[in-house]
Amino acid sequence: MIPRLSLLFAAQARFPAPEFESYTLPKMSLEELASDSVLWRVLLLAVFLAAGTWSFYKLRSRKALLAYSLAGLAVFGFIFASCPCPVGMFQNIAEGIANGSYIQPGVLLLFALPLAVALFAGRVFCGGACPLGAIQELLHWKSVFVPRPLDRILRLIPALLLLIFTVCAIFGIGFPLCYLEPYLPVFLLDFATPFAILSAVFLLVGLFVSRPFCRYVCPYGVLLRFFSYFSLLKPRITSQECVNCRLCEQGCPNGAILPPEGAGSTSEHRSGFRRISMLTALIPFALFAGGLFGYFCAPVLSSFHRDVRLVRELDAGIRSEAVEAFESTTTTREELRTRAVKLQNGILLASTAAGVLFGAVVMAELIAEARRRKEEEIYTIDPSLCFCCGRCYAACPLERKEKHHEK
């Protein structure tokens, strides 16, 4: 029912060009704007990232970070129409590297700059320079907290998406994930269904669950998370002596605040040891299961490739437009089949490898979460999960008191 309705709305009625002999079609031309220059965008992104870092680490101001988000939304969201795009960037780069094609330096910089900043200052990019992050930050109304264990499990989804769609990009399957970029209709002001429906769903969920896309979908976020783990600057909730009031933990809807880690009893240590031992023992199985999962996914991924799909259509006797187009070319069926078989084998190998890697990521994540952290008496921020929104600053009574004194 819903796909039918979607098609009904999505299919655009068009009026054909006039057929009068006296009429000539006007030539379309696009005037290049300064904002179209990628280097200009890189420069602006650098300025934004610097401002974000300054606001988060130096000003420690939620207000400044809100302004940063609003400006990011206006510039990178509405003016640059969702650029830099955390969904498309890694696919572009993966495809470029795999095919040895030329990657524009500007595009490479757009991709690398947020990662470089993450190494230095964490996920400042997500705070507001990312248009998707900005819109979610601003349109979050009332926080419904996802239980931390469930949150950690769901956060594995982006890693899976990253691996799957990297394989897709490498093998020329295209960028299917771009169809799942939920905020694009808003930025492009093009509300064609079914994308607008996806957009509405994410916006609605985002009103209650903070940053649903950043946390549970964004594949670029996986890279940012990894780089942020090694970040030089570590954010602190308060520069004062923490009183463990827990307000920061309750104020952070993203689950980035870590509770104090006590010394732990002997039984807790034993139980932790058993847990880690069990998980470590499971690693080979997880890798095998991941590989198997990747292996099973391969035919599905292959079926999205135009050559493989074309051969299957030819074999099944389907008269699609693609088949008709193919028949008008000089490529023989044997050549097409050889190409498709080669691709299919490549996808099978890559998908299996990606599955193994995903198994490793899952186990690494589980072991990291299952082990006891370094003994810590106060609430701390996990830089790899923190989106630099500054909510904890605003929730911390000591920070507010200090701000008040500064005024």
Binding site: F15, P18, L70, R148, P149, D315, G317, V341
Partner: protein, 563 residues
């Protein structure tokens, strides 16, 4: 202004913006949906006008004026929608700003800490529970997906190098051949029946209704759709049907119309791409004294006995053919002839009627066609005539040896031939209209002037060869030399092939008007005309003075003459 007043104002503005966005969004969606119909209507109207003679200055000006009018209306609508979408975007940004402003100006109230705070050790245990549950759910989901979805979808086979497609379905016990069929006796026996597409191979001797004033004797729904015609043996009526997934043969009592049985074919290996006009069961089944044979668009051939028990099933290579497979099989004695002219490969299969094994197959270098083979007997020997794109050919029934071929055909060949007295007659639009000498394949005559039918097969009647077009024109040509004798225009065209029964020609047009014609040398006389009121594309069958028709809406109707 006090802080709480500002907050209240902001909240009010947020709600206003949200309501505005929702209302405008819905209105825009509705407007976009609504504006589609008039555009389509305008385009259709313009297209219809453009079909007329545009040399007429007045008409040309009308087209220009209408084009301008509709185009203006279209772009005005588009502009209006574009403005609406822009307004929606602005409202959206304003909403973000209002949310941001509230967060900007009003720091969250300091709260009293709730609960006892997170317990890391407990959370770790929970995490493992969640992870275990997740793994179990994933494993179950994968298992369910593999067990249910994949077989239902007929898992897309891996593209294998050198794959030539499935040939047979050897999972059934093959019946042992213990009987033989005498061709002459079999052909003679079927003259009183209605055993296959367009009736019997030899002239049919069924009686026509006493008069053309009909009443419905019975009316039974056919569960599965199909464009194959009904066939009759004794008091049993057989039809085939398929919805792409399930193909079946149904048997009805010719006297009461009651469904006696329905037997399904094994699930098709692939659901082929077909057009709605063709359907998945366009081939008419064949029936002899003991068995009924049906071919489906999936390449499945099913043989049942008269009680509906499956005797054998054969899977021919996947039929890759534009529009879908539509040729009807031909039953000649102990062989079932299947003309399998696909896009890539053109083969004539002769299947052993007892076992379904291939008795012979002859591959030719031709093109796709939808024509059905025609059986004939020359000098006591059974032969099979086939017409396809490029070639008209004759094969020996026993060996499959090509006796002769004529490279005279072209276009999309869908009609079938007629044969009499060592002559084979054929007519199809864009292909060929003429007659061949069955003994050596020489062309006796050729008529390139008269418009030929594109779907319905022409019919022989005495010295006449009559062409029933899909535009409603009936042309009579001389069966001796091919020159056109006369032409009649009717209101509706014919997809259903006319047949000669009881010394008359019976034909049913696309609107379900059942005609009884008596062609003369100068004029086609309409003896009877009965309006069924339902569209028909199948060939009617005859049983004891009754007419059995399958309608487009999948009903089987038996008409009998009023007393």
């Amino acid at each position: 202004m006090r802080n709480d007043e500002i907050r209240r104002t902001l909240r009010f503005l947020q709600w206003t913006a949200l309501t505005f966005i929702l209302t405008l969004g819905l209105l825009l969606a509705y407007d976009m949906y609504r504006s589609r119909a008039p555009i389509k209507q305008a385009q259709d109207e313009l297209a219809a006008l453009k079909q007329q003679d545009l040399a007429d200055a007045k008409l040309s000006q009308t087209v220009r004026d209408l084009d301008y009018l509709y185009r203006s209306a279209y772009f005005q609508t588009k502009d209006k929608q574009r403005r609406g979408v822009l307004l929606l975007g602005i409202a959206f940004f304003v909403l973000c700003g209002l949310f941001g402003a509230e967060m900007f100006w009003f720091a969250p109230k300091l709260k009293v800490p709730r609960g006892t705070g997170a317990a890391p050790e407990k959370e770790r245990r929970q995490l493992l529970v969640f992870a275990s549950c997740g793994i179990v759910v994933l494993v179950v989901a994968l298992a369910v997906l593999r067990v249910t979805l994949v077989p239902a979808e007929k898992k897309p086979a891996r593209v294998a190098a050198g794959d030539t497609g499935k040939q047979t379905q050897p999972d059934e016990v093959k019946p042992v051949q213990t009987e033989t069929i005498d061709l002459a006796a079999a052909l003679e026996a079927e003259r009183t029946q209605w055993p296959q597409f367009r009736g019997s191979t030899l002239p049919n001797v069924n009686a026509l209704p006493a008069n053309w004033d009909f009443q419905e004797k019975w009316n039974s729904p056919v569960e599965l759709p199909g464009n194959g015609s009904p066939v009759v043996w004794d008091d049993l009526v057989f039809v085939s049907g398929s919805d792409g997934k399930t193909g079946a043969v149904s048997c009805y009592d010719a006297t009461t119309g009651a469904l006696k049985w329905k037997t399904e074919a094994p699930p098709a290996a692939h659901t082929p791409e077909i057009t709605e006009d063709t359907g998945y069961a366009a081939s008419t089944p064949c029936v002899d004294a003991k068995r009924v044979y049906a071919v489906f668009a999936s390449g499945d051939v099913l043989c049942l006995d008269h009680d509906g028990t499956t005797l054998w099933h054969k899977q021919l290579p996947d039929p890759v053919i534009m529009y879908g497979y539509a040729s009807s099989p031909l039953l000649m004695g102990d062989k079932l002839i299947v003309q399998y002219d696909l896009d890539e490969k053109q083969t004539i299969f002769a299947l052993n009627v007892f076992t379904g094994e291939i008795a012979w197959q002859t591959e030719r270098d031709a093109s796709a066609s939808w024509s059905s083979p025609k059986g004939l007997v020359v000098d006591g020997k059974g032969m099979v005539f086939t017409a396809g794109n490029r070639l008209a050919e004759l094969f020996d029934l026993e060996t499959g040896k090509q006796l002769w071929s004529q490279e005279c055909m072209g276009g999309e060949v869908a009609a079938s031939a007629s044969a009499r007295d060592g002559k084979i007659f054929f007519s199809n639009s864009g292909a060929f209209t003429g007659a061949f000498n069955a003994s050596d394949g020489t062309i006796i005559f050729r008529n390139d002037d008269s418009p030929a039918p594109d779907v319905a097969s022409a019919v022989l009647f005495g010295d006449l060869y009559l062409l029933f077009g899909s535009g409603g024109t009936i042309i009579a040509i001389d069966a001796a030399d091919g020159h056109e004798l006369y032409e009649e225009d009717l209101d509706n065209g014919f997809y259903s092939s006319p047949v000669t029964v009881g010394g008359k020609i019976v034909a049913v047009d696309m609107d379900g008007v059942l005609y009884e014609f008596e062609p003369g040398s100068e004029k086609l006389e309409t003896v009877g005309k009965y309006e069924l009121g339902k569209s028909v594309v199948c060939v009617p069958a005859f049983h004891k003075g009754n007419v059995i028709l399958r309608t487009k809406d999948s009903a089987l109707i038996c008409l009998e003459a009023k007393q």
